[in-house]
Each structure stands twice: as C-alpha cells, then as structure tokens.
Subunit: 135 residues, 2 copies
DNA sequence: CTTGACCTTCACATAGATGTCAAAGTTTAG
DNA sequence: CTAAACTTTGACATCTATGTGAAGGTCAAG
C-alpha cells in the first residue's frame, strides 16, 4: 500500500512515517515512480512503534528492539554479541522499571475513580477486574 | 533538606528539581535566606516523577496524577468533577495501553536474551521468574 | 489537456525536557 | 576577612519527536 493509506489506517501523519523510515524503524519498497510501497504488516509495525514512542522509548532503543524480533537459532547466536546482550539487559531493566511505575499509577487512578462516585466513566473491564476491598 | 542534597540523593540535577517545582510537581518551603527546603518525602516524590517522565508522561499529566494521591471521602467527591473523571478515565486507558506495549516488548527482550547464550547478563530475577517453555 | 489528489524531497518552526552558563547572595571553613 | 561551596534567578542552547509548508513529479478522472 502507499503511504497515504498507511497513514489513514494508523492515524499517523505521513511526515512521521517517513521519519520512522529514516530512523530505520520501518522499511518500504519503491515503485517504479518512486512512491513508497508498504506491506500489510506495516500497519501493525507502525502501531507498535507508536506505542513504544508514547511510552518514552527513543527511536534508537526501538530500533534495537525491532532488530531482534523473529531472529532464531543459528542467526541468534551470531548476531547477539556479548556487548549487545549487555545493552539489552540494561534496556530490560529500564522496561521493568517503567512498567512498575506505570502500573502503580494506573492502580492509583483506577482506585480514585472507583471511589469518586464517577465510576460510570470506567469501561466495564475496570470495575470487574478490580474487586476493591470495601471501605 | 536543601536542593543540593535532594539532587545528590535522587541523581536528578538541581536544574530539573526547580523545573519540576515550576511545573507544580513538587513543593518546597523557603528558609529565611530564600533557600528551598524539602521534606524527606521529596526523595520518593522525585523518584516517582522521574519514572513517570521516562515512561512518556508529560508534566501536565503527572500533575494530574499527583493531585489525586491521598484524597479521600468527602474531599474526593468535592474535588472530582464529572469532567475531571472523564479526563482521568482517558488517562487510565492510555496508561493501560502503554503498560501492554511495554510488557510485550519486555517479554520479547527477555526471551531473546534467554535464547541467546548470553543469559548470564540477566539478573537472577529474570531467569527464575520466566520459566520459558523448553525448545 | 487540465484538474485534483496523490506522491517526492527539503527546509524551517515548535514544544517539552534537559544541559549549561552567568551574575549575584549566603554560609562555612580556614 | 577570604575562599570554597552552597544557593538564587535568568538566559540561552540542545535533542527528539512533531507540525507545516514549499516546489515539484505522477496519475486518474473529466
């Protein structure tokens, strides 16, 4: 698909799609006329990138992460140097920290809303999932 | 404590501590000479702020979140307008999305490292916590 | 053939968090 | 008293992701 469609389907401006490509986060073929051509899978890829960016990861780190999806067996041992492994271990710790931090805040917000007399605004999922101990 | 100590204990530059105050994220008393004076609790507060910032939240949202910690009962009903509740519900969804996204990436990285012959770089926690199905 | 909706690259501007430095007051050690 | 180590405010720079617009090529519909 061309960039316009990818943009429509993901809600991401074309400007950003080109930027992500420049940063090595997504790839595209070129048609004879120079237009970019994306595979169907680009939609999911872009959505993931957006999620990670909005979670505070930089394009550099995201490139790192994307670089190791789908790598297996022989390939894996070859491409994963000791040094890369250490970088990744550090990133792993950073990810855990972020997850913990966001989770605590999520619980705070959820609880606040439940107790606020405005629980109506909560999607059904929340009220059911959080059997808050009675006051 | 004064700003220098808070900075040393949190690893956050004084420049940033003043910025967080300007953004309404932390508060401080002033000594007779004009120096800022922070309570012990500021250390934890700053650490939380750092975590949230590194997770992609803006100071605006963080201010929102911090504004509702420790609010209870009567106070709560009064301060939580319908409108605020809706903002918070939206933030809650955004938080869930980020958590999901980061969690998926964390699992990818962890699994990658486990399979990479470089599991040594993993803190003990990981290997134990993730009983990965054997190949 | 022209118009409108695409696409290309390139450049410049903005916003938010952060770095860095300057000028000046305060406090403590020597 | 003076020097060193704090503190204050304020200005200006930087980085990253993003907005915006210009100048021009491509293509399908009329």
């Amino acid at each position: 698909m061309r960039i316009g469609e990818l943009s429509r389907r993901t809600g991401v401006p074309t400007r950003m799609l080109r930027y992500y490509e420049e940063q090595g986060l997504i790839a595209s073929e070129r048609r004879s006329n120079g237009y970019r051509d994306y595979p169907e899978s680009a939609v999911a890829a872009v959505e993931q990138i957006r999620g990670l960016l909005s979670s505070g990861l930089t394009t550099r780190v995201i490139r790192l992460l994307l670089g190791m999806e789908g790598v297996e067996g022989e390939e894996l041992a070859r491409t994963c140097s000791r040094n890369l492994a250490e970088s990744l271990a550090a990133e792993l710790d950073a990810l855990e920290a972020k997850i913990g931090c966001l989770t605590r805040s999520r619980d705070t917000v959820r609880e606040f809303l439940v107790r606020s007399r405005h629980a109506e605004v909560l999607g059904d999922a929340h009220v059911v999932l959080a059997p808050v101990a009675a006051d």
